[in-house]
Symmetry: C2
Subunit: 334 residues, 2 copies
DNA sequence: GTAGCAGTGGAGAACGTTTTCCATTACGCT
DNA sequence: AGCGTAATGGAAAACGTTCTCCACTGCTAC
């Protein structure tokens, strides 16, 4: 690996000049045209590659954005991390992806490791796991870091005081439920009550509010997790407990896919027998033509990445982007 | 952030000693019990965190594994990256995830960026994109790096001479097709011919070989990509072109899911009307009870990560783990 | 008694950058 | 002529580690 010193030697200039031309601030300290050219030529022939660690050491900050995802396999978070990665790359940043396996202790460990790497900022993709003992400790540690200047962004409701960019889950579920009501349905079930998961709880609130507005009776089915599998389980239970409702609002698209798969497999038709809608925007529902409240997850991740990459330049916290209804073929008027 | 110098000062020892106790090789150069204790105490009270960039600079190698994924959203690669992440963490490594958007030029760019970060090794998740102009240039660059000592591992058939850990796609498809034949089916279609994608081509070869062995006529349907959407398109075409075959072998689980969704949505039953099987092991097919040839993607990623993390200690290239048939409810005897 | 050696500690030179000073030149003014 | 100033270049000190020497202490073995 060629170093600045070698470049400087070949171009017969000082290391300082080589640095100014290749990586540095040629605007703060001008370098003449021809010297620039010869340095660049030298760099070209020697195949110069700057050393990121050396730069990071010197500037006390590496051009890395740390991402802690609750579950890397969940399309919901995968989508966000992708948005982060793409936007970060535009600013010359790179992302370290750490998976927390939905465990606050692992989140804490990864948080530490990321700080060791002097990352420019850390993004949390995923909600609090309440009731878990490590949650409080994580919060303490994150708060400490935030106060000492580390940029931390949470892309979900979180119990620590970092910057937060969150989608309004209440409003999304509310609007979605209103849409279903507007189709004429009144007997509408909600699948996806997960105790302690704030995002899910907020969606339930939105659903409830919309139902109350139309004097319809809310009916919430509990779930063990936001997965296709548990969607399947829930709808199995729903079928067993009597006639199907007019429509089913699912807490997210994964759940909706599980619901649809089971319904179709059991001989039910959507939207003829029942309308099914989801919340998400990950692509998993596309194959079923799922009606869903699309959440701009990629944009959300991008905003967080940009917020960190442009720290200092533009300190204002961006507002979360707005969700959007995508009408598919799994919902229809009553 | 506390530094070694501060620790040393507090514990009234030299920086060298502090380093030896906290990060270093206390075995190469012994440090007395009580000095160790006081250094550790000092580190504790000051909240010492080693600086990864400084370490990386000194040792010319950071404890980072670079991962270049063809498509971060594809569950197939997501699974691998997860395996990499988990195994890497066991060795104190962290992973930088770069998305290449199935574009060799982006792969090249990311490859460079990763090298700038002095990563310990780089893992490619994803096949060659043949016909694309950047492929040759990428190969040249990778080969150069490999020759100069960079550890590169490809987890798919690749046109450059890095270490490769690849699943035997031919054998997997062959075995899967033999299983379908063993159920008594003879009219078996294969969905998933993607020109230039070596993994897909190898699976076709395996399918063909098995069909020939039983004197059955292979029938391969082309595809524009390995996605649910294109699976749907292909089966639409299949339905339009006459009676359904006895069974459909899909190039991967994503395609199979698309096929199943469309079949179920069109009123066909599996396995009554047609058996459908896939290749994958990502979880996407689980909700349909898909019969699939499970590929140990997580393990595969883990092997690659370990290979890089233990460089020097164990230089031998691990063999790829073996696939395994998972029989679900979408296939049945004729 | 002294050479050799294991055990323990410290000084200081890297690693490759960035950046703050300082030095030199050239120029436009008075 | 003298001087302020912009343009351009270099020397050298950091940044936080690791690690190679080197130094000192007690030993043991002759």
């Amino acid at each position: 690996m060629a170093t600045l010193r070698e470049i400087a030697e070949l171009a017969s200039v000082s290391v300082a000049t080589a640095s100014r031309v290749l990586n540095g601030s040629a605007q703060h300290h001008p370098v003449s045209r021809d010297v620039q050219a010869s340095v660049r030529a030298a760099a070209q022939t020697l195949g110069y590659t700057p050393s990121a660690p050396a730069q990071a050491l010197k500037q006390q900050r590496s051009k890395i954005i740390g991402v802690i995802a609750s579950d890397i396999l969940d399309p919901y978070f995968a989508e966000m991390t992708r948005g982060i990665e793409i936007e970060a790359a535009k600013y010359g940043y790179v992302t370290i992806l750490a998976n927390a396996n939905r465990d606050p202790d692992q989140e804490r460990t990864k948080f530490r490791v990321l700080r060791e790497h002097q990352v420019s900022g850390i993004i949390f993709c995923g909600s609090d796991i309440e009731g878990s003992p490590g949650t409080a400790e994580l919060a303490r540690e994150v708060n400490l870091a935030v106060r000492s200047g580390t940029r931390v962004v949470a892309l979900a409701p979180r119990g620590f005081d970092s910057t937060k960019i969150v989608i309004d889950n209440v409003a999304a579920a509310h609007e979605l439920t209103r849409y279903v009501l507007s189709l004429g349905h009144r007997n509408i079930a909600f699948i996806g009550g997960i105790p302690g998961l704030s995002a899910a709880e907020q969606r339930i609130d939105g659903y409830r509010a919309a139902m109350f507005e139309e004097q319809a009776h809310p009916h919430v089915l509990g779930l063990s997790g936001m997965s296709q599998e548990s969607g399947k389980d829930a709808v199995t239970q729903l079928i067993a407990s009597g006639p199907l409702p007019d429509a089913i609002v699912c807490a997210n698209d994964e759940v909706a896919v599980g619901v649809l798969a089971h319904l179709w497999g059991s001989g039910y038709k959507t939207p003829d027998d029942v309308s099914v809608v989801g919340i998400g925007g990950a692509r998993s529902g596309a194959v079923f033509g799922l009606t869903t409240m699309t959440l701009p997850l990629v944009e959300l991740g991008g905003l967080a990445a940009r917020y960190i990459a442009t720290a200092g330049t533009s300190p204002e916290v961006p507002a979360a982007p707005r969700f959007e209804l995508h009408v598919g073929s799994t919902s229809a008027p009553r």
